[in-house]
Symmetry: C2
Subunit: 362 residues, 2 copies
């Protein structure tokens, strides 16, 4: 097992990464101050892992809530179901909420933990690669609104994150690849050496080689923890973690959070950001191609669904990074060097949107 720490003063917390962590109560119990625990999971994950977590927590008074699976349930309505469960059991301010599942369960449960009785304790047990390398770390919680993704939320750090790599063995192929998209993101925005490691090890990751997966998770979490420690509330640097996300959110909103996985939309978004960065003359052609090649090697989609440039712009305008009506995008100066900028030639964005609306997958 490897342990990293997210350094946030009094609110610092560990990320444990390794096999068979779900059966180790000593990793969880130091972070549960009261007696009451509510584990929130979904219909896919609960049958696989709920029993093991419950057994590990047999010293506590454990309740469970099992929600349907899917991004379309990441709503205020699902949060209300969590509040209902907490209140029906009269759970108090010392309650600990545990998210057992992927990014949707983590973001939603974290939001309920942030807002139940003005904030209760929270533990993340991410069971997808995407959640292990990204959403479970850093304290961003939230739900979607019909007009935009993650528009309702709060910052609320977990007290501990348990990334059990064994849970990835049961992960559907498509979700594994979607998680790899976020792994590639860290290489692109701030870690050129890791990008090169990924170029050499992408096959091993797709084959779920345990050592390769553990290394990729560790490097991803280390990068994320460094960024979060430096800029918890996204005044600045943290926004770079959203490479590909503004394009990607537009795709997800357009398709109603159903047909595209988040990581798939981010992959296409990163390809679009790389294209635009090249159009601006910021990213050279070889690096744009290397970016596309790595995404393609990970068997990720590189083209958006049929959408006009106008529709893209409309959906991108509600992005949280927009300021004073001006769109800000994360773009690449080089592999391993991303910037957040509103100061780009708009024609480059139009050329990219036109290019992709012509090549759109049907």
């Amino acid at each position: 097992m490897k342990t990293l720490t997210v350094e946030l003063g009094e609110r610092s917390y560990p990320i444990h990464i390794g096999p068979d962590l779900l059966s180790r109560p000593e990793l969880l119990t130091p972070y549960i101050p009261g007696q009451q625990v509510l584990i929130v999971s979904n219909e896919t994950v609960a049958p696989l892992y709920m029993q093991r977590v419950e057994t590990a927590l047999s010293a506590f008074q454990v309740s469970k809530l099992i929600l349907p699976d899917g991004e379309r349930y990441k709503t205020l309505d699902s949060a209300l179901q969590i509040y209902d469960a907490l209140l029906a059991q009269r759970m108090d301010r010392q309650t600990t909420l545990i998210a057992l599942g992927g990014g949707v369960i983590g973001d939603l449960t974290g939001f309920a933990a942030a807002t139940y009785q003005r904030g209760v304790h929270f533990i993340q047990i991410p069971t997808t690669l995407l959640a292990q390398v990204d959403s479970s770390v850093g304290g961003k919680t939230g739900v979607n609104h019909p007009l935009g993704k993650n528009m309702i939320g709060a910052f609320h750090q977990p007290r501990c994150v348990l990334a059990d790599t064994d849970t990835l063995l049961s992960l559907p192929e498509r979700e594994l690849k979607a998680g790899i998209a976020e792994v590639i993101k860290y290489g692109l925005i701030r870690d050129r050496a890791f990008f090169q490691w990924l170029q050499n090890n992408i096959e091993a990751l797709l084959e779920r080689n345990p050592e390769a997966l553990a290394y990729a998770i560790e490097q991803s979490c280390r990068n994320k923890a460094e960024v979060v420690a430096a800029d918890e509330r996204e005044a600045n640097q943290r926004a770079l973690l959203n490479l590909g996300h503004t394009f990607g959110h537009a795709i997800e909103t357009e398709t109603g959070y159903t047909s595209w996985l988040h990581g798939e939309a981010v992959a296409t978004g990163m390809a679009m950001a790389a294209h635009m960065s090249h159009e601006l003359g910021w990213l050279d052609e070889a690096e744009q191609r290397a970016t596309e090649a790595l995404l393609a090697a990970a068997e990720l989609p590189l083209t958006p669904p049929p959408m006009t440039p106008e529709r893209f712009l409309e959906l991108m305008a509600v992005d949280k990074k927009a300021l004073g009506g001006k769109l800000r995008l994360v773009l690449l100066k080089a592999i391993g060097n991303a910037v957040l900028s509103a100061d780009f030639e708009p024609a480059a964005l139009n050329r990219t949107l036109n290019h992709y609306s012509r090549t759109a997958s049907a």
Copy 2:
């Protein structure tokens, strides 16, 4: 105009108290970082004061949302209406939300500000005495759940509070008295001299003497600001501000947040807490009588609606101060000296509940 400061380091903010503040843009503009402002108000307050606030903010891009008036609209559903308004206008992360109204509008708008895009700027313009002396100061935001009051919420400090004493001239009689209940609370929990001043000046407050009102608001806000600065997240001392609230919330929940005003329920709750404190031998009889006498002089209700002791206990059990299933109550050792305790003789609580269930107002 008097100005107090809530000392919270980087998040410190001023409370301005005095007449005719609504027309002074210079009190607001330093706290509005972007261009976009959403003023949230209700159908009662908006016709009286919205125009003046809009005029003061003519330099900004101002939107308005006017909700129905009443505690029963302090729900997640109303918060959703605020999110809808923000997103329909594509308001960004630099947006400032202004609450123009009483405690319901303040708590609800504050919650929306805490959770829109993980937190935007927030200004309180309280227009009731209760909101000016209590709910607008200290950063507690939230909405009610059918199973309990303020069960969903967050801590989110405003950037400034503007208590314009002129707005109290239009306040209905009952709401003025309900506000005085919270004013009396500060005397009871931590300020014996202020309690004595109130004994001598209660008539002047009921007659809305401007100097008396301004003094009462200032002393109340000073007391509240000191408590919040010492214990922002209610680890300890801040819970004392809830004197009378556990009994009071049970009354409000039982009556569906309709027939009783919050301050009225708190007044009855404080009488009940004083009774129980006397039953425990903590508060002497003369002080219990002085407490009841001051509440009666303020023409506040001293007896709950018909409720059995069992019903009271059931509703009190969901209180946020409960810990590990054990009820904690704010009780009085003396006027000006409150304590939070779970360590009381349960028989005293039963005697108080029995006493009040016999004397209940029909």
